[in-house]
């Protein structure tokens, strides 16, 4: 355990978070849960960025650009959730289901 430093730990947690999000996107059928899993993925990436920003902060160069990037990502995530949920509501009004397997809902076919 003494070889595991904080930056390493942060990265590992971020990777795990991301992969759990991937698992959620692939295995769940409920659109809402899928959206939540996407949020998890985003957070994993954000965490990783913040970790790197902190790690290289003492170096010359703008490591706070990573933090700015994280802020932008958060803003985008918020917008994306809003739009996604509104699409979901619109979809629900039509087919009365939030299942990804619904044939009329999420198939790109005629």
């Amino acid at each position: 355990m003494n070889s595991l430093t904080t930056p390493d730990a942060i990265q590992i947690i971020a990777a795990l978070l991301f992969c759990i999000g991937v698992f959620g996107v692939l295995s769940r059928r409920n659109l809402l849960i899928i959206l939540m899993s996407v949020e998890l993925m985003l957070n994993g990436a954000n965490l990783s960025l913040v970790g790197f920003a902190r790690e290289f902060a003492h170096l010359p160069g703008k490591s706070e650009s990573a933090q700015v990037m994280v802020l932008m990502a958060m803003a985008v995530a918020a917008a994306e959730v809003a739009v996604g949920l509104s699409i979901l509501i619109a979809l629900f009004r039509h087919v009365r289901s939030v299942s990804v397997d619904h044939p009329q809902a999420t198939t790109l076919r005629d």
Partner: protein, 203 residues
């Protein structure tokens, strides 16, 4: 922040995330997500990203979670409308996929201990630089990661992305309003979708 604390919070995050993706009830999943994202915020504080931690809690906890809960309540899903659970085959494949991704990421991360990795982490060095504060304070004259530092950086170097984000959020707002409107008779006529068959169709 000590590694032990980080790992502790990390465990919390991972457990909460796992619960998010496995809970059947969307409200349970949403609440678990809240815990996970809150944990991430805690980690951010430990990483001296105070402003971002605040933003994390505000946005994810205050805005996104609220939206999710609103929508879940709005849809008032009954048990049978939740749709069937995926067959075990799909679950297994998803695990495999995620595991593969995880494996690759970990093997990439493991190279951080390689000798030729350029700047190995040095706690003392960081502490010294912080104490000295010469570089950063010379540049920003404020504490790294704080709101003031962030503001100075955001409104000078990154002013353009900031403005663009504003536009993006505006677009999102407009889109939400258009999408979430109750469809009028014309749209209903044009799309001509029938009422739901119970449950999902072919997998």
């Amino acid at each position: 922040m000590s590694t032990f604390l980080v790992l502790l919070v990390g465990v919390l995050i991972v457990v909460a995330a796992l619960m998010t993706v496995t809970q059947r009830n969307p409200i349970h999943a949403a609440l678990s997500m809240l815990i996970a994202l809150g944990g991430v915020g805690a980690l951010m504080i430990g990483l001296k990203a105070h402003f971002l931690a605040a933003m994390q809690v505000l946005l994810y906890g205050g805005a996104i979670m609220v939206l999710f809960v609103f929508v879940i309540m709005l849809l008032t899903l009954r048990e049978e409308e939740l749709g069937p659970e995926p067959p075990p085959a799909t679950r297994l494949l998803a695990v495999v996929g995620a595991a593969a991704l995880c494996f690759i990421l970990f093997s990439a991360l493991s190279r951080r201990s390689d000798p030729e990795f350029k700047e190995p982490y040095n706690d003392a060095k960081i502490a010294a630089a912080e104490a000295d504060g010469a570089d950063m304070r010379r540049r920003t004259k404020v504490y790294y990661g704080s709101t003031e530092h962030f503001a100075r950086v955001l409104y000078t170097d990154y002013a353009v992305p900031f403005e663009l984000i504003t536009v993006l959020v505006m677009a999102a707002v407009a889109g939400v309003i258009v999408l979430a409107r109750r469809p009028d008779s014309v749209t209903l006529e044009a799309t001509k979708l029938t009422a739901i068959p119970a449950g999902g169709g072919a997998a």
